[in-house]
Symmetry: C2
Subunit: 419 residues, 2 copies
């Protein structure tokens, strides 16, 4: 498109929802993309970072990023969490009208929102209202979520780094479980999608240098996903079988496991449970689910007149989404996703989201390669992607197809020696 | 001592108590030290690793490490957790008699036990019984504990790596807390000693490259140690003051916090709480303490007719003692501690433990340097070192002296950029 036909004005960039280890890479990517593109050619004047997402935007609260030194940008990219501040606000139509009013006030013509499916929906509504109310705008969504639950994406920025944390934590914790045997439960983030919990399977032995006592014995031996109805009796039987055989059992459980009627197991348990702006019960930031499952196993697996088994539960908590050792693949892709969104604006697109496409699998000797494409906001907005059936094996495991999918994303994992 | 006067026989090495990220470095250090010393000169025949510590020893269960390839040893050193398997058994006199009987059966003349103060006590008793029952032996303790609670030591192998995890987790989690403000509690390991919880203070800004809004605002703003009586009313008031000012509050709490009568706050709360062989209530592997403190703050800080503040609690759990990215200082010192113990045996010592001595501080432009010395088993055995008063500041903070002590041990920490 000729430059003269591009909207002239300012850019606003925001971050929304739970932060990740690489969401700032996407922020930096958008800033770099705009500086090298629309700003360099004089179409865009200021590049404004919204403080705490749309909440700050409506109050006119910004960090001006237009002239930020590249060294600071690079360091910001390597900083976990949302550098601009985030928000859990999910704007309705009225709220979006106030967003558009603020954009008019500050002559914002390009709106970039980095977040999950709710953020994509916000982009969609802002875009509609802006264009119907005479303040023409371009609205772009940049994907981010450790849950990996966006449609149209091979995977989403943020997921590989969180998956790396979960894999490394389970690798190390399994060694701990071998050295002091017992039953160990690790609770992993993921309200509706089990990808992150499934990543615990990467903890199983992949280094072939050392003596192997048989892969099926590697932890976690049991993996429970939100996509599969959780039955407590079946859970107890699963654990009992492995514990009887090995004298230990290593388990990964999604915080979002639900019964057959889709009631979260955790929701029943959290005293004074908080509900966020989206009506969701708080699942993270509490050890309640792990402790419940732990109590259940102690009760059910205590032999008559005997001592209860050693059962421990850890809940990985927020550190899994912000651990400051991101996957190298994730860091690069998050940055490039931001740059790609800026390029969409330069090429005259009116709106859209960015999706990562896997060009080469990263398995069977093929290198891992990815690229980016534009997708419609409506294809992402307010929709949730789940673990596809081919990634799930039975009611308590993941498939080799999932391992092949996930392993190329997380970076090098350490190789352990076992006696 | 002339070689002819050294006891001839086999070596047994065991690991005891909670594993760490570097306890296998100490194991490898002992093996290397023996192979290059007593084994090379023909005094020692086999180097036997006890499976699950003294428990395996009494059953004659060993891994023979005499001829293990150096590559495997090196990889074992980099593997977290106790490669030989660990035990929580705390042998009494009868149990120690059985240990000595097993040593006689397998002609074990050198006994190395890697563990905390209980393991040192085991060494002491085994040594006494062996020498009084006509099976002359040499018994050495190699220090290990993430709690850093051994007497005579500047610090203990295992602590720096766990401290590194706690510092990095708190750094990243504090950024998360800024981006989505609220009250965040992180519960850290440490039953009686607060060193590991204190290490959360390293999360405060130490990179001076970036704009600083004032160091006191960096998280965690509040640190609660087991050495200082915990008063719930004072805790609520502390949090309230910071939350009122900043709209957020970042807190580190030791799992071992106790009231003024030394009753652990956690012990009252854990349903079906397990007691280990040492009579201790289970503190780790449960989110109960964090959830209790979380509920308390929600209850006390909810304004009349208003909504409760956003409060989240994470319990770092076992991953803090086994995270597979150890402090480089710790890896080296753990290995050398093991080698030093082997050298004590070669030099004719009858028993002893190893202590790390800091030769050069690592602060004020001085490099960090450490060395090793022999200490009496009785100086370590069954004693607990606490945070000294000069490391504690008020009832909810640590001193600069502690930061200067701890920072050189944990390795490089990432530098974050803040807008």
């Amino acid at each position: 498109m000729p430059l003269s036909q591009l909207l002239k004005g300012n850019v606003a960039i925001g971050q929304s929802g739970g932060p990740t280890a690489v969401i700032n890479q996407s922020l930096v990517g958008v800033v770099e993309g705009i500086r090298q593109g629309l700003h360099a050619v004089g179409v865009v004047d200021r590049i404004l970072g919204m403080k705490n997402g749309v909440r700050g935007l409506t109050k006119g609260e910004f960090h001006d990023l237009t002239d930020m030194h590249q060294d600071r940008l690079d360091r910001l990219g390597m900083t976990p969490s949302a550098g601009l501040g985030s928000t859990r606000d999910k704007p309705d139509t009225n709220y979006c009208q106030r967003i558009v009013d603020a954009c008019r006030t500050h002559n914002i013509r390009y709106f970039f929102y980095i977040g999950g499916n709710d953020s994509s929906d916000t982009c969609r509504i802002v875009n509609e209202i802006a264009n119907s109310s005479g303040h023409e705008m371009r609205c772009f969504h940049v994907p981010k979520t450790v849950d990996n639950d966006l449609m149209e994406n091979d995977h989403t920025p943020g997921f590989p780094s969180a998956a790396r944390f979960v894999a490394m934590a389970c690798m190390a914790d399994f060694m701990d479980n071998i050295s002091l045997p017992g039953i160990k439960i690790n609770v992993v983030m993921g309200r509706h999608a089990g990808f992150l919990t499934a990543a615990s399977a990467l903890a199983r032995r992949h280094d072939r240098f050392t003596s192997i006592e048989g892969e099926s014995t590697d932890g976690p031996q049991l993996i429970y996903l939100p996509e599969v109805a959780f039955d407590t009796d079946r859970f107890v039987a699963d654990v009992e079988a492995i514990y009887a055989k090995k004298g230990r059992c290593h388990i990964a459980v999604s915080e979002g496991i639900s019964d057959k009627d889709h009631n979260p197991i955790a929701a029943k348990l959290i005293k004074g449970g908080q509900v966020d702006a989206h009506g969701n019960v708080q699942l993270s930031g509490s050890g309640a689910l792990g402790d419940l499952l732990s109590d259940l196993l102690k009760e059910k697996l205590t032999p008559a007149g005997g001592k209860p088994p050693r059962v421990r539960a850890d809940t990985f908590g927020y550190v899994q989404r912000c651990w400051p050792d991101p996957s190298p693949v994730d860091s690069v892709e998050a940055r490039r996703s931001g740059r790609f969104a800026a390029r969409l604006a330069l090429s005259g697109e009116r709106d859209g989201s960015v999706a990562i496409v896997r060009q080469s699998s990263g398995t069977n000797g093929m290198p891992y390669l990815s690229t980016y494409r534009r997708v419609e906001l409506s294809a992402i907005a307010a929709k949730t992607r789940h673990m596809p059936p081919e990634f799930i094996k039975g009611h308590n495991n993941v498939s080799q197809a999932f391992i092949d999918y996930c392993l190329p994303l997380v970076g090098d994992l350490p190789g352990f020696e076992r006696l």
